[in-house]
Subunit: 281 residues, 2 copies
Amino acid sequence: MQVVDRIALLRKELDAARAAGRVVGLVPTMGYLHEGRASLVRRAAAECKVVAVTVFVNPLQFGAGEDLEGYPRDLERDTALAAGAGAGIVFTPPVEEMYPEPVATAVHVAGVSEGMEGDSRPSHFDGVATVVAKLFAIAGPCRAYFGEKDFQQLVVVRRMARDLSFPVEVIGCATVREPDGLALSSRNVYLGPDERRAAAVLHRALVRGAALVEGGERGRDTVLRRIVATIAGEPLAELDYAEVVAADDLRPVDPLRGDVRLLVAARIGKARLIDNVGVSC
Amino acid sequence: MQVVDRIALLRKELDAARAAGRVVGLVPTMGYLHEGRASLVRRAAAECKVVAVTVFVNPLQFGAGEDLEGYPRDLERDTALAAGAGAGIVFTPPVEEMYPEPVATAVHVAGVSEGMEGDSRPSHFDGVATVVAKLFAIAGPCRAYFGEKDFQQLVVVRRMARDLSFPVEVIGCATVREPDGLALSSRNVYLGPDERRAAAVLHRALVRGAALVEGGERGRDTVLRRIVATIAGEPLAELDYAEVVAADDLRPVDPLRGDVRLLVAARIGKARLIDNVGVSC
């Protein structure tokens, strides 16, 4: 496996792969890979001949007061994990390589970047859309893998790629979960034992909401109430938001129809956790 | 020469050209080609094996009250002119091909898009940066040719391409002028005979300002005053703005040093004309 820290070299490698007829897979990450992110790499490796994992803690997507400096980094472990999952290239550009001068250009995706995480973290999705546009421009034609865990991010990236006609197929990958349903997240380490047990309530609430829909319920408020009530039944959890929206544009849909996404965010102790599930009707 | 109106087909043609080792040239235009724009195509044809001219009247860069519907179109003439200048492909996508759904994504270039034309036409450069990013994403690795006549646009596009790491070399081409110095522009047809004679004052003012700098003057205000006074000496001309800025970031520079750009905009009769020249010191 190759570790590359220059834009020009990554581009050269991926151009050469395509010229040899190989499909390129791209897995953009901020590093600190866990089993959830490794599953993206494995999926990419199963579907693409050459897989590049990018490891870049993107300053643009951290707001004022968010802990950019403290974001966990472990490049050696990430490289080993990526290699084990089938990556051929790990792209680890220093900040000066990605942003040699203050970035004047911002990519903004209206609509889908608003509400939910967009409300909690203003300008976060501009930072995401901008760095992903840059990574797509660097990588060239490819399949790019993103986790459904960050569902709003996936929708923002997909919309950006479509609007700007990047030759990139954006692929959402199912969330990897613990046996009790808790979505894998680097934030789970902040949970004490009781909090860890309590955290399963997010997925439980979503599954109950989805079960209502599968059982024929089409009222958005009824489904929302079930989710909210389930979270409220767990004293250690403090709900941030619950949403029931159309999966493609994240707009509230009532009565429910088509591909619907149920999303929650909640604080448990020091950790702010998010999760979502999909249901069709 | 090939006329292509589908994104996928243009991409396929340009990918095939690159796979055959040919350098691709791109000349983005809104059509209604004149000799100035034809000179971009000739330059591209001299430097690239395959030249694609895009003809697309981009709704995103027209503000409220600007005449999108009335923008002049003559595709047959454009196609003939592009072919005569050496284009191999003319890309003429309908609006539904470029924007099949309302565009949620906007590319904004801070700093260089502010002031001058950015003040007169709010959101204009967002529309330009967005459509050019999309054209770059469609075209892939290439050399892209823009006229220096729209100098601020050139700087905005160059900065966008650099910030987002598009594999595109943005090339500015010298302004083509009438014998009396008037820059070629589709707006020159709005000028009556007296106005046409008066319009030469823009270039004359810029040349006088540049001559001061070449003669050793380093005071920004002195150069500005010379430009403003020259325009004021022409009763038919009404100055909109005059600027003396650094050529790379369009910031006022005082005392003058490095690559400096002198820019003016003025109304003459119904026409609003812009022009600029460069000088180094």
